[in-house]
Amino acid sequence: MINRAIKPASSDDVKFRLPQVEKFETKNGLQVYFVKRTQLPILRFNLILDAGSKSDPEGKKGMVNLFAMMLDEGAGEYNALQLNDEFDMLGSNFDISANNDNVFISLRTLKEHAERSLQLFSDVVTKPHFNEKAFAREKRKILTRLLQLKDDPDEIANIIFEKHIFEDNPYSYPVIGFEEDINRISIEDLKTFYRNTLTPNNCKLIIVGDSDKDYILSLLDKYFSDWQYNNSFSYTPPAVKKNPNKIFLVHKEGAVQTEIRIGHISGERNSPDYFSKLILNTILGGQFTSRINLNLREDKGYTYGAFSRFSYYKDASYYFVSTSVNAENTGNAVKEILKELEGIKDGVTSGELEFAKSSSIRKFPSNFETNRHIASNISALVIHSLPDNYFDNYLDNIRMVTIDDVNRSATNSISAEDALIVVVGDKKIIKSQLTDLSKEITELESTIF
């Protein structure tokens, strides 16, 4: 008979070997990161362009996103529908997306179709059509999408939060852009951006899967040979300013829930206190059993879930708490969150510290389970210019975090007083709940962007 009252101990420590990354360059200077994995006959390619919506020109916000939507609307000898059909017939998934910092062009393919898929991929990168008719259509699609966003409280909260946390910074406007700006963008704008920006020297290619270096290199040299170097693109990030510590209330008529975002500007990704902030947030809001979720969900029952995170862009970052609560408890929830942000400054317990370190250390192998996981880990290195041995030192960096480090981070990196608060809900129910917070309230309509 077992004694169920005793929690079983773990058996011997597991052995985990990090996937090995090979770095090399193609003839035209494209840097490639390759991880060989032969468990399954599949491959993933992620091309990362070091330019995102933050480089949208003034008055043309949304240009890079529109560029990403247009890039595969016809390329090489194929129109848009034919190109899509070629990928689909191979069972390959091809996708392009843009965010604030980057454009991502990604491909997932069976090994047997890797060469053909990569050839089509190269058509998109080196021979896009930028067809007028498709351009008009994609523009209309975005304008309609902008309308749809006005219905979605979660999206509204995210957009308004970033608008105010970054104020004049290029991170302050949404990747999708604005209606009047979209109308100003011309197809020539996209072509110019393409010529100056989507070049081997501005990109990094990450490949994970069942292949080998020589073969990959031969394919890349074969299909990307006429892709030309061009160094006319540059971007200088402006300094990041402090955010206003006000409340923005976005009115959504009849909303039964309130979306809440609370946070403030924080330090950059590759600063030395990254790991102590990671541990700090694991205790405060990063996991189910973190303080904020246990309080708001498991104790008070205000929400289905609440979390917090340090969110890192390339040139700026912020700390934020996110949740959705029933309208009646909006004020209570905001107060409890602010209380947690204050409370963490009194210090964490050694039990909390050990829990957070154990969780982060032991979870490490499962961060490398799929090709997508591995490619996305390497992407983080590329985007934030982290050292190549980052993952080799990752566990030691976590082990070294002390309780003093975490408490110092809590003091320096978390502040209820500095926090910007965005709430999206029905003002008739929620406004009166927010008046005793001694923060200035600005009311907005949900149709404002």
Binding site: R4, S10, V14, F16, L81, D88, Q148, Q287, Y302, E369
Partner: protein, 423 residues
């Protein structure tokens, strides 16, 4: 295909618990996945949402595990965990480093065998609040969020167990007592009504021994068979309208089709892909790409244990009428029925499904859940190839036939319209 021929061992403990083991040592992690053969179809009208609320209660601790410890122990071990409830079943799953497998077996067996001693009114009240918030966040406060429950209430006859939403109605959720929770546990949460799958890196002999020690002494209970008759056909077309705080009009069509693994369900999945799965899919290409009268198009077949339905959803571009969109949809369906289907068109959809099977083999949680699904549905966990073969063998005529057989019948039409502007 060898790739999809998943080696496994299956056996049944004396108390009736099915055990499925699949070993894969490529990473030092292991997934544990348990299916209980109980979902919202085991509920009654007026008591909807208990299966899902019960899923929440399973995370509230058990006799030897305090509230919050279930999550804490697994996350401390570097694991991830969750559960989900559908019409037909509830699942619970964890992924941990291999050396913590015993911890998971302890936690899962403690809540399978010894949940009730730890159940309190306070925990129940708290989770009723949490689930109410879940419902408000995911349905009531979402644009078009109420469409789903309006549809199923009309696709299925009154009192059919698929006619209410798994999340439950607000008043029903509020009404549940500790006795309701206890009854649900005693009826459905027993080894004989469950299936345990472990996939990943583990020592087979030690694992079998641990399973025996942790689960072997839990009283068996019984496997619950639900007697659900095939629902009567939809008697007449049903037209519904609902005004909401949205910008764009949206139209839904729902037809009753057939249940999972019925002879037609693979054809219906492929039909959905042919209609909306890619840029070249018929409805997408016509409505979104060429005519630009719609912003998006979705089509899918839902195949449950007791019944199935086929749904088409189209959001109108501003200024375009749902009537025009409707007649385009009906024309396209007619064309599938009576016009040619290019063999490459069908092949494209089949290729996507086939590569999707292979890509999905990267994730241990997915494999474990799929083994349990096949065991639940076909009584054979290793059915990946057989499942794929169903799609491979569908012909152009099958696609035409299922449109004629199901989509030319009575349907439910739901229009979601923006609130009238005031003043």
């Amino acid at each position: 295909m060898d790739l999809l021929n998943i080696e496994y061992e299956k056996y049944t403990l004396k108390n009736g618990l099915d055990v499925i083991l699949h070993q894969n040592d490529s990473l030092p992690i292991v997934s544990v996945n348990i299916w209980y053969k109980a979902g919202s179809s085991n509920e009654k009208k007026g008591k909807t949402g208990i299966a899902h609320l019960f899923e929440h209660m399973m995370f509230q601790g058990s006799q030897n595990v305090a509230k919050e410890e279930h999550f804490k122990f697994i996350q401390e071990a570097g694991g991830s965990l969750n559960g989900s409830t559908s019409f037909d079943r509830t699942n619970y799953y964890e992924k941990v480093p291999s050396n913590f497998l015993e911890l998971i077996l302890w936690l899962e067996s403690d809540r399978m065998g010894f949940l009730l001693p730890a159940m309190t009114q306070e925990k129940l009240n708290n989770q009723k609040d949490v689930v109410t918030n879940e419902r408000l966040e995911r349905y009531d406060n979402q644009p078009y969020g109420m469409a789903w429950e309006k549809l199923i209430a009309n696709i299925y006859p009154k009192n059919h167990p698929y006619s209410w939403p798994t999340i439950g109605f607000i008043n029903d959720i509020a009404s549940f007592t500790l006795d309701d929770v206890r009854n649900f546990f005693e009826t459905y949460y027993s080894p004989a009504n469950a299936s345990l799958c472990i996939a990943g890196s583990f020592d087979r002999n030690k694992t079998e021994d641990m399973i025996d020690r942790y689960f072997g002494d839990i009283p068996g209970g019984k496997s619950v068979k639900l007697n659900v008759k095939n629902p009567e056909p939809i008697p007449d077309n049903i037209y519904l309208k609902h005004h909401e705080n949205v910008q764009l009009e949206r139209i839904y069509f729902a037809w009753r089709t057939d249940k999972g693994y019925s002879p037609d369900d693979a054809s219906l999945d492929l039909l959905a892909d042919i209609l909306s799965g890619s840029k070249n899919a018929r409805l997408y290409k016509n409505l979104v790409y060429e005519k630009e009268i719609a912003q998006d198009v979705t089509a899918y077949q839902y195949s449950g244990k007791y019944a199935g339905h086929f749904i088409i959803i189209v959001t109108a571009k501003p200024g375009y009428s749902l009537d025009v969109i409707k007649s385009e949809i009906m024309n396209e369906l007619e064309k599938v029925c009576t016009g040619p289907i290019d063999s490459l068109e069908l092949q494209r959809s089949k290729n996507g499904i086939k590569s999707g099977f292979i890509y999905s083999m990267q994730n241990m949680d997915t494999i474990a859940d799929q083994l349990n699904f096949y065991n639940f549905t076909l009584n054979n966990p290793n059915s990946f190839n057989a499942d794929l073969q169903r799609y491979e063998s569908v012909t152009e005529n099958d696609i035409k036939r299922v449109v004629g057989k199901y989509l030319m019948n009575n349907y439910v039409e739901l229009r979601i319209l923006p609130n009238e502007k005031q003043g």
